[in-house]
Symmetry: C2
Subunit: 243 residues, 2 copies
């Protein structure tokens, strides 16, 4: 890439659209605000050794048995899945509990997208909890970027899109953007910033679903910017804090 | 459906997401602002007998040969496709030329989505040129609605989304909406209305592409509301004006 040309930034609104994007030599940011990528960020900032994302509950149980002292976690329909020990709430993992441990995690959407990406330059984990850290990382890497929304079972969702928009709003000028999804995400984020982000999300599908499970405190936590300023990065099968 | 329950309204942002939506007993609005659905609307309002949408240039040529006095139309890369007679510009089809004729049309995105929809209650054609007519039709039918954006080769695009947002903004209160795409489209449309719609679209991917082909007048025409207040509807293989 010549010094005069900016790297490209694009936004993928759903895993079902991932095939439209070239991820070669690209940093892919996995976004699942409610709640996988928020939880991964919190867990690593609170001192966990690593998070191992897995696709299924069965795989989670089996890997948990193999790794001594590991913790298995995952939910189905807002409850800890049968056979696992903990859920998918960032509030469940304070430092006193998770420090130096390995978390084996399965989730509905976030881990799925993460496993779909092939041949990228890097896969990192984005959430409002590490928004500025992700922005700084993307700018310092200077590579092409794909912001990948995990969505809800392939359907566009508001909160992942707003996070993508936050990144575009903060550091979009450092990139070449010819992507209507990126522009739309930025506009939506900029519309939202006049008010409390959770208030803005109150009529979204995911808010309705999770508030039905009594998880409003979780969501409030997940939209708080920069509580956990680290960059979780995939290394082999493990997600660790980037150093 | 009980009298107290409103019909559902959803927005599909790309043909690659169509499988996520149930189109049974649903009115599907096909949206391809630049320019298939704008052209179809103009052509029928200007008195064409019908428009026959086909998937390929070869099919267009072959059907044109079968139907005496028909006109074949379609573009590839902004130029009339080899073997066809006319392009995909609404400005090419004034009443004096198209009245009582049959237009056989192939386009990159719009006709493709139209052929993908199965088992709907009806398939109608939406554009800014018939925005209010589509809104009135949807309300008077009182059925579930899917607003289907044709996008650009499956990628989210701004202008189709803005049209979907215009419909949600105008008649969304008559429907039950639990769809983040619909909410996002509405917000984007409402952000855009402070200014000229074409101005708002100036940094969109499609504007860049079509202005490169010298088609700014086409785009200006396509974002003009309510010039052609009819509802084009698919009947068998033909699109006709709904009466």
């Amino acid at each position: 890439m010549s010094t005069t040309q900016k790297p490209r930034l694009e936004v993928c609104l759903s895993p079902a659209l991932l095939h439209l994007y070239d991820t070669t030599n690209t940093v892919v940011v996995i976004i699942d605000i409610f709640r996988a990528t928020s939880t991964i960020t919190a867990v690593l900032h609170n001192g966990a050794k690593c998070v191992i994302p897995v696709a299924s509950v069965a795989e989670c149980i089996s890997l948990g048995n193999e790794i001594p002292g590991s913790i298995t976690a995952g939910e189905r329909d807002g409850k800890v899945a049968d056979g696992l020990q903990y859920g998918n709430s960032p509030l469940e993992y304070p430092r006193g509990f998770i420090e130096d441990k390995v978390l084996v995690l399965t989730t509905t959407n976030g881990t799925r997208l993460l496993h779909m990406v092939k041949d990228s330059a890097a896969i990192v984990i984005g959430s409002f909890l590490n928004l500025q850290a992700i922005c700084d990382y993307l700018v310092s890497e200077g590579k092409n970027v794909l912001l990948g929304c995990s969505s809800w079972k392939d359907r566009f969702n508001m909160e992942d899109t707003l996070f993508a928009g936050a990144v575009v709003s903060k550091v979009g000028d450092k990139f070449d953007i010819n992507c209507d999804s990126a522009r739309a995400a930025k506009m939506l984020y900029e519309v939202s910033t006049g008010e409390n982000l959770l208030e803005f999300l109150k009529d979204s599908s995911h808010y309705r679903r999770l508030s039905g499970f009594g998880l409003i405190d979780d969501m409030k936590y997940c939209v708080t910017p920069d509580l956990h300023p680290i960059v979780p990065i995939l290394q082999g099968a493990e997600i660790v804090a980037f150093k």
